[in-house]
Subunit: 365 residues, 2 copies
């Protein structure tokens, strides 16, 4: 990482939907500097497609231990997802998200023409937290924008756990629903694990079911769904043509929402992963040594206003980091919008499985 | 790690059952130096019990991100599992394994008296690999030694995948069987994942089922079984009273048998974990920085004579490492015997669940 992230835990207090940074050391930028995308170039890449699930899950290469020193992998060709910002490339998450949603909208249209149905996302919202309400609005608006159906079950904060489970069960049985998400955090008196476990495995678009997590961890298996924020991080890295194999990536945070699945997904791409968290005694030492740092300091109960629990806290802010990292995702407009796009992508994939439907770009999803 | 593991991938060619090293930096030894256990002391600890599953799964402490520098945790009291070896403590895996088996034998006896049954372990062995035959013998002998029942299904290497699945299914239905393991590796023409998936979740004593792996990865959940080698590593660390919280642990290898579950289990103990593997470009840099190094370079297809695929290969041998590490597990007599003891422990735990049986030390398992 060089000096890229000497002290990375930053003290921004911005909106949490996008408070997930992705730093890249100068060594890892791999052509990002050439990635400035002028307007006409951007228009041309409008139809750039989201990465296929197989691509996001990484190449299936067996380990081959070799005692001889390994040459660093060759840098990939320049990527297109970023714009130059002096010495630092700002990875344009919004543009990547727009492109993905553009493609999803097209596939939804094809699905409607072919099978007469569109994908459906059901959201369960418990209580009246304003931040949760606002995230749910984003997600529902995201559905509308791409022509998907959305359903919302709103329950009062004082309802019982069983009532939430009942809501989930109804959506499980509804064939027009292909994805179910329970907006977190839930009120403290509820058993989050029990409620999440009630979501049918084939509608678990958040990817938090332990079977999906286990299949993500086991490289020889394939999960039905990968958590959206982890997919978003990988999508941004892949779109930016950043080489991962052999690179040292530090993931800050280990929540099931971001840190854990991102660290597992990165390992499928043969990155060397260090996971640092609140109990780590020497975070600077480890991040300093890394090629890429993904910061997702995800502790929901530290910051009750955070959505999924990923909010950057600490002692370096974006303005500082931008001076030392070779590439970075901004706040807002970084990982956040791509995460919502990935939720739509997961829901679309689920509907395709349900209807046995293949669009012309099926090989990509 | 200091100079403990500058170049760790060692080139030993010893028996693979025990070819799993555990290095500890001098900083992490935390009283190990005082842990020399003379014979009379050893006799007194004869009844020392294996750690409870809850203890092995780590303390449930929420992350609390704190921007102020964290003091290193206080060293725990001296452990008893090791013997001194000049400047380096050799962690005595065989002694730990003996103690665990002693306790298991006692619990099996109590179970037999109380419910008239003993735990049963079924092993499926396909083909005639001599190493696999020998590991299976160890496991069956382990059962006999503690009074457990063992069943062996031997199939020829040329049999079909379906025949193996049928064997597994019969054991699934046999109420006298509480644990099933399929000896790996399987012949190349077989789909390992399909066969392992056939094992009933509540008899998956190897802990390779994706649901068990997912529940191990998600700190808020609890797997029914944790893979034996990972449990063995943690048992040795805990018995040696080595503090894990906040410590930087490097795990070499990421197989589902050792590396992956060990890295997940260490995270439950709030260690900072780096996972390095065959594609890692700078293994020395990362290991040098670590407090603890667990080497489980697990690639079965690199070394067809290895059992579970953990065999140390590379450029440092035990004789070199013993001069720089503050504590180390030997080969043989390190993690290997504890791993087999953990297989028996998993089978006992499974039988206890099946019979709803609690021994006087049930709170410990």
């Amino acid at each position: 990482m060089g000096a890229a992230a000497v002290a990375l835990l930053a003290a921004t207090r911005r909106r949490p939907t996008t408070s997930l940074y992705l730093f890249l050391s100068r060594a890892a930028r791999a052509g990002l500097h050439d990635a400035a995308a002028p307007a006409e170039e951007k228009a041309k890449t409008r139809r750039r497609r989201r990465s296929s699930t197989s691509r996001l899950l990484g190449p299936d290469i067996p380990d081959a231990w070799d005692p001889t020193p390994r040459a660093a992998p060759r840098p990939p060709p320049p990527g297109r997802a970023g714009v130059d910002y002096g010495c630092t490339t700002i990875i344009d998450g919004k543009s990547v998200a727009d492109d993905i949603r553009f493609q999803i909208a097209e596939e939804v249209r094809q699905m409607k023409n072919a099978v007469g149905n569109v994908p459906g996302l059901a959201v369960v919202l418990v209580g009246d937290r304003r931040d949760s309400q606002s995230y749910v609005r984003y997600k529902i608006k995201g559905c509308e924008d791409v022509g998907m159906k959305s359903l919302l079950a709103e329950l009062p904060g004082g309802c019982t756990e069983d009532e939430v489970v009942d809501s989930v069960s109804r959506f499980n049985e509804d064939p027009s629903v292909h994805g179910i998400l329970v907006q977190l955090p839930l009120p403290h008196h509820m058993d989050e694990e029990r409620i999440l476990s009630a979501i049918s495995l084939d509608k678990d678009v958040d990817g938090f079911h332990p079977l999906n997590v286990g299949n993500l961890a086991l490289r020889s298996r394939k999960p039905l769904f990968v958590p959206c924020a982890a997919k978003a991080c990988l999508e941004l890295l892949l779109q930016s043509r950043i080489e991962l194999m052999g690179k040292h990536v530090t993931v800050i945070g280990r929540s099931k929402v971001v840190g854990l699945p991102t660290s597992l997904l990165l390992q499928r791409h043969h990155a060397t992963v260090s996971i640092i968290h609140a109990f780590t005694t020497n975070p600077e030492e480890i991040t300093r040594q890394s090629d890429i740092v993904i910061s997702a300091a995800g502790v929901a109960n530290l910051d009750p206003t955070s959505d999924y629990g990923y909010r950057l806290t600490g002692d370096v802010c974006f303005e500082e980091a931008v001076r030392v990292a070779s590439a970075i995702t901004p706040v807002p407009g970084g990982v956040g919008p791509v995460t919502i796009a990935m939720l739509l992508a997961n829901t679309l994939d689920s509907a395709k499985r349900a209807y046995g439907f293949a669009t012309e770009s099926q090989e990509l999803v």
